[in-house]
Amino acid sequence: MTPLLSARGVTVRYGSLAALDGVDLRIDHGQRHALIGPNGAGKTTLLGVLGGAIPAGGGRVLLAGRDVTRLGPAARARRGIGRIHQRPAVWETLTAAENVVVAALPHAVRPGRWRPSGRRRAAERTAATLLARVGLPELAGVPAGRLAHGQRRQLEIAMALAGRPRLLLLDEPAAGLSAGEVERLAEFLRELPRAVAVLLVEHRLDLVYALCDTVTVLRDGRPLATGTPAQIRASDPVRQAYAEGVA
């Protein structure tokens, strides 16, 4: 079966420094895939390349068998890649509900040809549902700029879901969250429909092992190992690489 996403030999260079050096990655439909590794290993860069925000210097990215290497982030989002940023990226002067509406607009189904407002209404319905799902229904009318960090994170997840993603790229979603918020995030991710595949970059290994079925370790811009959480936990070089990076 064709994988949902496959990266082949992806390379990104900043001057003489190779942030990514020939990375191969395969994500299957509905897979919960984690990307771990020390700081500076290239995890965020790889998410950027897969999402289209960072152009690949070399290699190819295929989404459901189609080459999307040359497509920008907008075109990839329309093909079903959703993204959560390391620092929650929301539109600060828009209300929480408006944020989700705008995120949903490119993906909202237009009910009738002659009803241009129908699209917005569809998006508004989606927004109400999603805000309720991520636990922010009472904050719908508050400008996103006034939300706390954890609430912005929830909002950005709602925005990503509004894009009806087949693949969700999550960049350290637990960073800066309180214990309770992390718990809720984990539960939320566990309850995601199986139709949505996840690529999770996360430092908290407990979360990774609890949520993911596949783990890839990245170091110095190269994949070190890929396997089940159990395999990765048991592998010596991985532990060593990770310990060095964390220390």
Partner: protein, 337 residues
Amino acid sequence: MREQAVRALRRGVAAAVLAGLVLAPWAVDDYTAALLARTLALGLVAVSVALLTGVAGLPTLGQTAPYAAGAYTSAVLGGQVSDVGVVHLAVAAVAGAALAAVTVPLVVHARGVVVLMITLAVGELAVVLVGRWRSVTGGTDGLAGIAQVRPLWGMPVLATDRARYLYTLVVVAALVGLVLLVLRTRVGLLLRAGRDDEARLRASGHRVSLQVAGVHVAAGAVAGAAGSLLVVAQQYLSPADFGFETSALLLLGVVIGGAASVGGALVGAVLVVAGRDWLFGALPGHAPLVLGLAFVVTVYLLPGGGHRPPPVRGRLLPDVGTRRAAGERPAPTGARA
């Protein structure tokens, strides 16, 4: 509660201003009425500047270019097509939009101070062009003897300064209302979202370049329509109407008016332009000096510190003074189109 009070206050002020504007021509002489009409036309250009600078976060110093295109097209071509003002308006709006569309490739990928430079160069070049293209524009001598118009088919010709002023006022009110209505639809949401974080808009699947091009063309059409009003109000055109100083005055008005507020931009620009006109009458010879000082003082008095500056889309060249903490990732605006 407080927001409601502010909103009520704002509505009250708007109503009072509007009433004053309607009654104004009966309170002043013909010359002032003509001057006011011209000021209103400039206020409409300021609305187009606010649309780009404040709402969409694309600062511009070049809206005088579509303004000039609209004015000269309306004066030269409009007179040959018809003597109906609304037709002139349409012709001028199309001309302004067309000029903006031509310059879209220049600005669509640029952001921040680069847009300011490019738009300023475009605006200045447009003035040079107008000054040198004597056969059509009359060059620096100006274009006089422009035929009078009637607002709509079957209506009388606008023969007095008061009538011309009222026509200008009605058109400006209608167009500003239209702009405000459009901004209440998802168009407004998208523009504000793009100003807040353009990369996020792309990551959500929006075609940002198309939106940027669209707002440029729309702002060009508004400025072009304002050009047609200038022709009606002034019945004379010269390159001096579209100079560098005009761009700067409009920008000052827009910044005073609160950048992101279309109504505020209109009021701000009207105040600034009226102040300039008053200065040139009251202090002949000293006006540029005082005006320059007024710019400096205004900039210093503008709310700073805790006040959020009008946001500008992804800065290609971040301010040296406002730097992000070291070690953070580059801004997400580094994304490609």
